[in-house]
């Protein structure tokens, strides 16, 4: 083990770059997971809100249920 280590050529610039991009990919994956999760949740909230805004209309048409505001 030690022997082979001694006779390894010193790491070149390319080796450093490969190592760097390995590290980069690891960091990026973690960061992107967080990033996408955050915005995905935000968008889900938006969609749920829109559905709530529009849903009462649909229910009224289907089952004769009258939402609060249509009593006015």
């Amino acid at each position: 083990m030690l022997y082979s280590h001694k006779h390894d050529p010193p790491p070149t610039q390319e080796d450093y770059w490969t190592k760097f991009y390995d590290v980069y990919r690891r960091e990026a994956e973690e960061y992107d997971r967080e990033f996408i999760k955050r915005y995905d949740e935000d968008l889900n909230t938006t969609l749920i809100f829109v559905r709530v805004l529009c849903s009462s209309c649909l229910r009224r048409a289907d089952s004769g249920y009258r939402p609060v505001y249509s009593l006015l």
Binding site: F20, V23, E27, D40, T45, T46, L53, S56
Partner: protein, 507 residues
């Protein structure tokens, strides 16, 4: 909810057939028996269009519906965009994929993806507000008591939102943060810079007077407006329009910037200069420096950064990222800099990187706007009265400090460094380790000016000769700077700021 309400109000836009039937019946009864209505002679009513109020309410309601549907549409698109960002839409080596990811991430920053995403809920909130306004306006005609309840609830909602915005603006640590608060926090610096850039005092005074007149006029008008509910509710769609306009402005600006950058890149590529690969590498490095907190990762990244040949202009974020790393491994105890235990190597490397990039920037563009932003960051960590004694990279710190604080007395520190340092150097045994050339060229310039343009100190010149005689030749920046030292010694003062062609491309 919105749609249900619209359906409820919708029929009132058309004439009611029941009303007409009733009127006709009344006329019929009158014809049969004249005594039923007494002296009132029933007439057939003429439909003269829908009432004014109903038209207003309908207009606001439809705006609200359109806004909520539009934000749903954008949300759907946003999900698609996010998926596209997450997908690996490229085959190739790990390096190519990572660079592709960085390209996409840069796009997200350049195109204000975050702003657009944040403004989606804002549109929905406006839709809700419009609904409340329309409801209260509609009920006002029917029953004032019920209408006032709805109006009260709506204004309570608006007031609490305003409170959240103000609270979020005043305190950053406040948990009730809204996009509005973020925007408001950006206004004072903008206003200050606008005031500063105003050329003369009279202009400022005139502007203030004009603004004052405008606001007093506006105030009078708005008092009258508040009494007229209908006008107030009609002005609300304008706010929505402003929100949209701000988004459009951001997008247009980003579009212009990107297209100019693309055109420039195309032009440069046409002339055989491809900055793409180096710039992407730099962007990746900059991103890692800004994101990572892992010491080994930072060390590896900084080591790579030192060996890179920098393009003539690069993202100033890179310098601030390096300064941030430096600030993390240093503590400033009552004006005395102490390097934290275990971070010595990181501190040394980040100082080297900062120095080499700052030097690079001062050489290429001494009046660069980069310094303005970075200086604030630097001064926060290292105020002008800072003592760098007892730090291993003492001389590098001094030079950086002098770049940011030109009034800092470089002379004493430099001379001290120079007399301390000189006897220890034997250039023959010297191994190239870091960007010593950056320190030495600065020192050579300084000494050259100090000796009234006579000679560069011999020991620095010897360093230059030593580097130039190495086999194989060291990296290009080393050679360039050593040639520069030699040129200075020969009396070439004219090219103190060489152009990129002279320094890096042609050598």
């Amino acid at each position: 909810m919105t749609s249900a309400f619209i359906i409820q109000v919708q029929p009132q836009l058309q004439s009611d057939p029941n009303n007409e039937t009733a009127a006709l019946l009344r006329v019929l009864i009158y014809k049969i028996d004249n005594t039923t209505f007494g002296d009132n002679i029933p007439l057939i009513p003429l439909w003269s269009g829908p009432p004014h109020t109903i038209v207003q309410v309908q207009a606001i309601l439809y705006t609200s519906l359109a806004a909520s549907l539009f934000s749903a549409f954008l949300a759907m698109l946003g999900k698609q965009w996010l998926n596209r960002y997450a997908s690996i839409d490229m085959r190739g080596s790990a390096i190519e994929r990572s660079q592709n990811r960085q390209r996409k991430f840069d796009g997200i920053v350049t195109w204000y993806f975050n702003t657009v995403m944040e403004s989606l809920p804002l549109m929905l909130q406006f839709a809700l507000l419009l609904l409340g306004c329309a409801l209260s306006r509609y009920l006002w005609e029917i029953n004032t008591t019920v209408a006032s309840v709805v109006l009260g609830v709506t204004s309570f909602g608006v007031a609490s939102y305003a409170f959240f915005v103000v609270a979020g603006t005043v305190s950053i640590s406040c948990p009730y943060q809204t996009p509005g608060a973020f925007a408001l926090r950006c206004i004072p610096p903008l206003a200050l810079s606008a005031l500063r850039s105003a050329s003369s005092l009279s202009k400022v005074v005139g502007w203030v007077a004009f603004w004052w007149n405008e606001t007093t006029e506006d105030f009078k008008c708005s008092v009258i407006r508040v009494t007229q509910l209908s006008t107030l509710t009609l002005s609300l769609p304008i706010i929505l329009l402003i929100c949209l306009a701000i988004d459009t402005y951001h997008l247009t600006r980003a579009m212009l910037r990107v297209s100019v950058a693309n055109a420039l890149g195309w032009f440069l590529r046409m002339h055989g200069w491809d900055p793409q690969a180096t710039t992407l590498d730099l962007q990746c490095i900059s991103w890692v420096l800004q994101t990572s907190l892992d010491k080994t990762v930072l060390l590896l990244t900084l080591r790579l950064l030192i060996t890179m040949i920098m393009p003539a202009s690069f993202d100033p974020d890179l310098i601030s990222a390096c300064l941030n790393v430096l600030a993390c491994c240093v503590s400033n105890v009552s004006g005395k800099v102490v390097i934290l235990q275990g971070s010595e190597e990181l501190a040394e490397l980040s100082v080297m990187c900062c120095l080499s990039m700052l030097y690079h920037t001062t050489t290429f563009d001494p009046t660069s706007s980069v310094f303005k932003g970075v200086r604030r960051l630097y001064t926060k960590t290292f105020p002008i009265e800072t003592d760098f004694r007892n730090t291993p990279s003492y001389h590098r710190f001094c030079i950086i400090h002098n770049i940011f604080h030109p009034s800092y007395k470089l002379v004493e520190h430099q001379l001290e460094y120079h007399t301390d340092y000189r006897p220890q150097i034997r250039w023959r045994d010297y191994k190239l380790s870091g960007p010593e050339h950056v320190v030495l060229i600065r020192l050579a310039q300084f000494e050259y000016h100090r000796k009234q343009h006579k000679k560069v100190p011999r020991w620095i010149l010897r360093y230059g000769h030593h580097v130039l005689s190495l086999v194989p030749l060291p990296p290009v920046p080393f050679v360039a700077d050593c040639l520069f030292i030699v040129a200075m010694d020969l009396g070439c003062t004219a090219s103190i700021t060489p152009s990129p062609d002279e320094r890096y491309v042609h050598i």
